[in-house]
């Protein structure tokens, strides 16, 4: 069977070789890179612009962005027909292609995030490695821990006030360089689509900007969600510990601190959400107003076939509803959770409507293609380009975060050691 045939249904006049070649993994790709970029921008708001209210969130967002970073290229690997040749992009990059820069942009960004993390956690590494170094009879577990943290210090044990100040300065510079690089990383994902002149729905210079805005929205939403979940888990663990020890923070203290951070972050979420929606609507209005050759088929897709996906799911449930939820006075944690979940869903639907919607009509402008997401996998292809492949990609950063947070603790750095 031809690749793509299994999930494509053709209607009316479609060229014989046309299928939905870019399936759910290509929806996941901009979705995941968007989360990476968004999380980083959120952390930079504190480091660069000194927005103090986001201090707690900033450290968290940076570590989470690092976890997401590893998951971001995975959808592409799962999508490639020859995944083992993926490295060819680095070996013979063909720079007229938007994808060719992926290796360079991605590794630059990775290096920035990694070095910023190192400066942020250098003190923590030294504080763990030093006592272990002096300890005489280490157990195997301690040896292992010592080895990891000793390596992570990169041989720098200087914790003088002067050097710590220099660390902070480095963090600030890296965060500042990181913002344009993060935007570039994602804007360029938008460029991959926006520059395809053969596709009437994709081709618009607004695409990279729209992608950046919705990326920041989704990144902030995911950070808020993960922040709330981890705070709830800590609350639960603390309440159990409090039974045996006195002096732990009370649940009320936790709750007010948590709500404060969430309220602050929600404000930035709304700000970027308004930007994203404005640009998307501008694009839509402009297409309708100029009504070039492709508009007939685009209109039938946007207002007809994909109406529910675009106007109900994306704009209604994914944008308008959370917008109202966050704007209503007296924001609670529960409402915030619902809000960010809807925002994440909305951004996912936006990616879906771009990637799948862009292939919903034929290049002949006289036929349509329907995409049926494979749910129950019956071979490798329907697994990796089906529901479960997409879900595994989505779960991956959370699993990674759990491991990474063991080395880079995100909460109460002082209390943990």
């Amino acid at each position: 069977m031809v690749h793509g045939e299994i999930w494509t249904v053709k209607e009316l006049f479609v060229y014989p070789n046309e299928f939905i070649y870019w399936s759910v993994q290509i929806v996941m790709y901009p979705f995941m890179t968007g989360l990476v970029a968004g999380a980083f921008v959120l952390s930079s708001l504190y480091h660069v612009f000194g927005i103090k209210e986001l201090k707690d969130m900033a450290r968290f967002a940076l570590v989470f962005s690092f976890a997401l970073l590893f998951a971001a290229p995975m959808p592409i690997v799962l999508h490639l027909q020859h995944p083992l040749r993926g490295i060819n992009v680095m070996m013979t990059p063909h720079f007229t292609s938007a994808i060719a820069a992926f290796g360079i942009v991605f590794s630059t960004y990775g290096a920035i995030v990694a070095s910023e993390l190192w400066f942020l956690y250098r003190k923590h590494f030294v504080e763990i490695a030093l006592p272990l170094k002096e300890k005489q009879d280490k157990t195997i577990a301690e040896w292992f821990k010592f080895l990891i943290f000793c390596t992570l210090t990169l041989g720098v044990y200087d914790l003088s006030e002067e050097s710590l100040k220099r660390d902070e300065k480095a963090i600030k510079i890296l965060a500042a360089i990181g913002i344009p690089v993060a935007c570039f990383l994602h804007g360029y994902a938008g460029f991959i689509f926006g520059s395809v002149k053969a596709n009437a729905l994709w081709m618009t210079p607004l695409m990279p900007v729209i992608f950046i805005m919705s990326a920041i929205v989704s990144g902030i939403a995911l950070c808020m969600l993960t922040y709330i979940v981890t705070m709830e888990v800590r609350k639960f663990l603390d309440s159990r510990k409090r039974a045996s020890y006195a002096g732990y923070r009370s649940p009320e203290e936790f709750k007010s601190a948590e709500l404060n951070v969430i309220k602050m972050t929600a404000r930035y979420l709304l700000f970027f959400l308004v930007f994203a929606i404005t640009l998307e609507l501008l694009d839509l209005i402009f297409r309708g107003y100029t009504a070039v050759k492709s508009w007939d088929v685009l209109r039938s897709v946007i207002y007809g076939r994909d109406f529910i996906d675009i106007f109900i799911m994306q704009y209604g449930v994914g944008n308008l509803l959370p917008f109202i939820l966050f704007l209503l006075p007296g924001l609670t944690i529960r409402r915030a959770v619902l809000g960010v979940l809807l925002v994440l869903f909305g951004v996912f639907m936006m990616r879906w409507n771009v990637v799948i919607g862009g292939q919903a009509f034929s290049l002949s402008f006289a036929g349509y293609m329907h995409y049926h997401l494979p749910i129950i996998p019956h071979d490798w292809e329907t697994f990796k380009e089906g529901l479960f492949g997409a879900l595994s990609i989505f779960i991956m950063p959370f699993v990674l975060f759990w491991f990474i947070a063991k080395i880079f603790p995100v909460f109460n750095l002082k209390e943990t050691h």
């Binding site: 069977m1 031809v2 690749h3 793509g4 045939e5 249904v9 053709k10 209607e11 009316l12 006049f13 479609v14 060229y15 014989p16 070789n17 046309e18 299928f19 070649y21 870019w22 592409i76 999508h79 490639l80 027909q81 020859h82 040749r85 993926g86 060819n88 992009v89 070996m91 013979t92 990059p93 063909h94 007229t96 292609s97 938007a98 994808i99 060719a100 992926f102 991959i192 520059s195 395809v196 002149k197 053969a198 596709n199 050759k293 034929s362 290049l363 002949s364 402008f365 006289a366 036929g367």
Partner: protein, 260 residues
């Protein structure tokens, strides 16, 4: 710093920066190649006479066999489209299985197993249009390939390196003509290459050879004596989807405005 001094230094600075930049002109291999006299003496072009096509599908069959595209797979390097205009002003088009078996019924294929029967007395006009890769002068598929696995030869044909293609599908998305697909066996990008293995040996392409009516012809645009070149230069010919700026090199006689 005085104004005069500042202007002086600024002028020197600007001159100093621009001079080395000018010296570093990037050499374009293609330009260098074109500048040489012994450059390509061949530019393959294709000519389709739609008046002569009867939609028998022998070209599609021959192509599939020649180029080892699995016979029953729903992809093909070349195909034939049927256009039917009815008296009520509507137009219908289809290409069942790429017209591999020809158009054996008057029913229009609507996809999903549905057909529409059109009575012959309702037909205003109808014709067939063979399609194949346009071997564009400005190929978007070559532009978007991230690894350079697809490239344009000096004689104008766009080829795919099966051993280097990563299978990302960007070229398939980038082609406005829908000629590209994934090979069902090799899982790499696949397309019509004017039977490059044949034409470089002086043979005709499989589809040209198989066409009993001479609807398909291949020629060398750089040879003024070539019959195909003569027709393209002296008669009125059309190309497909000019608006994409790809400069296609498959020319059509008798192209209708509704041909997609």
């Amino acid at each position: 710093m005085k104004r005069r001094e500042f202007l002086k230094k600024a002028a020197i600075g600007v001159a100093g920066i621009t001079l080395p930049l000018a010296a570093l002109e990037i050499v374009n291999p293609r330009k260098m190649f074109a500048g040489k006299d012994d450059g390509a003496k061949v530019r393959w072009v294709f000519l389709v006479d739609t008046y002569k096509c009867v939609g028998c599908g022998l070209c599609v069959k021959a192509c599939k066999n020649e180029n080892e595209i699995p016979y029953d797979a729903n992809v093909t390097r070349t195909w034939v489209e049927r256009y039917v205009f009815t008296k009520d002003g509507k137009f219908h088009a289809d290409t069942p299985k790429g017209a591999r078996d020809g158009f054996i019924t008057s029913k229009i294929d609507l996809g999903q197993g549905k057909y529409e029967d059109i009575k012959s007395e309702d037909i205003q006009k109808a014709f067939f249009v063979p399609k194949l890769c346009n071997q564009c002068e400005n190929p978007p598929c070559v532009q978007v390939c991230p690894v350079g696995a697809t490239y344009q030869t000096p004689d104008g044909v766009v080829l795919v390196d099966r051993s280097w293609c990563i299978g990302c599908g960007y070229c398939i998305m980038g082609c406005p003509y829908g000629v590209r697909f994934f090979h069902p066996k090799y899982h790499t990008a696949e397309k019509c290459n004017f039977c490059y293995h044949r034409i470089t040996k002086g043979l005709k392409t499989a589809c040209v050879q198989a066409c009993p009516f001479g609807a398909r012809q291949i020629g060398n645009m750089k040879d003024p004596k070539d019959p195909v070149t003569k027709i393209i230069m002296t008669e009125r010919v059309g190309i497909l989807k000019e608006e994409y700026g790809t400069k296609p090199q498959v020319f059509y006689i008798g192209l209708d405005r509704e041909v997609k």
